[in-house]
């Protein structure tokens, strides 16, 4: 008991004598975490810029997120960050920039495969089908024949270009069973598109309106038939009654309507063909996009 009291007294004496020194030592220990805090608390540090960039990315403020990521990336290359920059452009539908950013991944990169997939996806969505097909065919995975996703995307994109399709059974075999029927229909359409021949339409227009009816414009066809018929009748009638001036006016009008009927039938058929091609391509795009271009979709924490 005496020893303890003696120690306490001595300590008190020591503290009293050295109070200033002790305060400084204590302050140093108190400031130590502060120095660390300054590093972490620096909102412009790479770590904090990255955190802020991720926050913006999750908030879908991609343009600002890119700025933050790029500031960090400029000092240290980081695959994930580069991928996020490219994805940000992709999500803003800036496909050209997204492609260029995905293109920066080298085969040594751990995210090369994902970036390659995204490049194909970007090209598909920007409707650069031929370029996408060439890139798929040049990729190692395609030549190694070990990526069914790429084959599916490639085949589907061929429906949208003039590329020659493989045999039907081969074309369809790579797809899921539930997709085979619709792809079979697409294949048939592509091989034998239900186009109408503009020349046939023009020939049919010898009988006014028939070419238009052939081009699925039944109302226009009937109008064309009635008008041309009427003016021709009037012209003949005038000639028979020796009313030369009127007769020639009506002859001119019927010739005008008749030639217009032939030309109109020709263009109506072209329009018809363009319309059904547009609808077909739209259906294919919807089909492919519904399946995320057959490629695995990258997921981020906030997705």
């Amino acid at each position: 008991m005496f020893q303890v009291n003696n120690f306490t007294v001595r300590m008190k004496k020591f503290i009293k004598v050295n109070s200033s020194v002790l305060s400084i030592i204590f302050s140093f220990f108190a400031l130590a975490p502060l120095i660390a805090q300054t590093e972490n608390g620096n909102i412009w540090s790479d770590k904090n810029r990255l955190a802020f960039g991720n926050h913006l990315f999750c908030e879908k403020d991609y343009l600002r997120a890119i700025d933050e990521f790029q500031c960090v990336l400029i000092k240290n290359w980081n695959d994930t960050l580069q991928f996020k920059i490219a994805t940000s452009y992709f999500r803003m539908k800036h496909y050209d920039k997204a492609f260029n950013e995905f293109e920066k991944f080298t085969p040594n990169s751990s995210m090369y495969l994902q970036s390659e997939n995204e490049k194909f996806r970007t090209l598909f969505l920007s409707e650069n089908y031929s370029s996408m097909q060439n890139k798929i065919k040049n990729s190692k995975r395609y030549s190694g024949n070990n990526s069914i996703e790429l084959l599916r995307l490639l085949n589907s994109s061929m429906l949208l270009t003039n590329a020659e399709l493989p045999q039907k059974s081969k074309f369809i075999s790579i797809y899921e069973n539930e997709d085979k029927n619709i792809l079979s229909e697409f294949y048939n359409w592509k091989e034998n598109p239900p186009y109408k021949n503009p020349t046939i339409a023009a020939i049919l227009s010898i009988i006014p309106g028939l070419g238009k009816i052939y081009a699925d414009e039944i109302g226009d066809g009937i109008t064309s038939f009635v008008l041309t018929g009427l003016f021709t009748y009037l012209a003949i009638n005038k000639f028979q009654n020796n009313q030369q001036t009127s007769a020639w006016i009506y002859t001119g009008l019927s010739a005008f309507f008749y030639s217009g009927n032939i030309y109109g039938s020709y263009t109506a058929t072209q329009n018809y063909n363009a319309g059904i091609k547009f609808n077909f391509e739209n259906e294919v795009k919807i089909f492919v996009n519904d399946r995320n271009q057959f490629l695995p979709t990258p997921k981020f924490l906030c997705d």
Binding site: L34, A51, L234
Partner: protein, 277 residues
């Protein structure tokens, strides 16, 4: 002993002000960007401020400034989103009123006029006795004005002052505008007169000439007992020119009215010194 306490206090307290200091600096930086009208960067820095000052309750001002920046940048949907966020954190009634007005003004700029009018009505009911009614009339007038309804705009501005500058402007625009139904009506009586009324004289002359020609052919055919030909001429030629004449009269009246409105909007944008949405 007291000396020790002071040193210890400084040591402890110095940990916290650093962060607050940095956030203050950040706020100052964002404010300076906002003040220099560098709105894109201002938004980034306010968002950064918010991100690093979580739980510090600094959302009202930053959200409000973000909203104003978006508004200035023409991103009205985002502006409204952030005004609403600012409103959520507003503690003072004046702030809340200010935000409500900004939302109304943004809707006017966004040309979602029914929404703006609905919000004005709601705002008026909510703040009876608290706000000057001239404020309500002023923004209602602006909503009508942007909606190209100059007569209603004039009525609203006249409630503030019978000689209010915007009332005079609305009146002058309203009186300068052509009546579309009148243009069509007079053209239906005398083809081409609607075009004359709107100052498109050549079009009026051609319209009249074509109608006279079509009318002559038709009437002449009937008078010479060529009934079938008369029907054909009337329905295919005369009717076509007559319908074209009516369409033209309407089209020109609308076109000229748009010109008048656009000149007024140009004046409001460039020369009007009062408060704008």
């Amino acid at each position: 002993m007291s000396k020790k306490i002071v040193i210890l206090f400084i040591s402890f307290s110095s940990i916290f002000p650093i962060k607050a200091q940095k956030l203050n600096n950040q706020k100052f930086f964002a404010d300076s960007l906002f003040a220099s009208e560098n709105y894109f960067d201002a938004i980034t820095e306010y968002k950064r401020l918010q991100f690093f000052s979580k739980k510090n309750g600094k959302y009202f001002e930053s959200n409000f400034k973000i909203a104003l920046s978006y508004k200035a940048g023409g991103k009205y949907d985002n502006a409204i989103k952030y005004f609403n966020l600012a409103k959520r954190d507003a503690k003072l009634l004046e702030d809340s009123i200010q935000i409500d007005l900004q939302i109304i003004r943004t809707n006017i700029l966004r040309r979602t006029i029914p929404e703006a009018l609905f919000l004005i009505e709601k705002f008026e009911v909510k703040n009876v006795g608290r706000i000057d009614t001239s404020l309500i009339n002023y923004w209602t007038g602006w909503a009508y004005l942007v909606n190209d309804d100059w007569e209603s705009a004039s009525q609203e501005f006249s409630k503030i002052d019978k000689f209010h500058q915007l009332k005079m402007l609305s009146d002058s625009v309203f009186s300068a505008k052509y009546s579309v139904p009148l243009a069509k009506f007079i053209s239906s009586v005398l083809p081409g007169s609607g075009q004359f009324y709107t100052g498109n004289y050549w079009s009026g002359v051609f319209s009249l000439a074509w109608n006279l020609f079509g009318g002559y052919l038709t009437i002449n055919a009937f008078l010479t007992d060529r009934t079938f030909e008369g029907i054909l001429m009337g329905s295919l030629i005369w009717a076509r020119f007559y319908r074209g004449n009516l369409t033209n009269a309407e089209k020109f009246a609308i076109k000229e009215n748009n010109k008048i409105s656009n000149n007024a909007y140009k004046f409001l944008m460039e020369k009007y010194l009062g408060e704008k949405p």
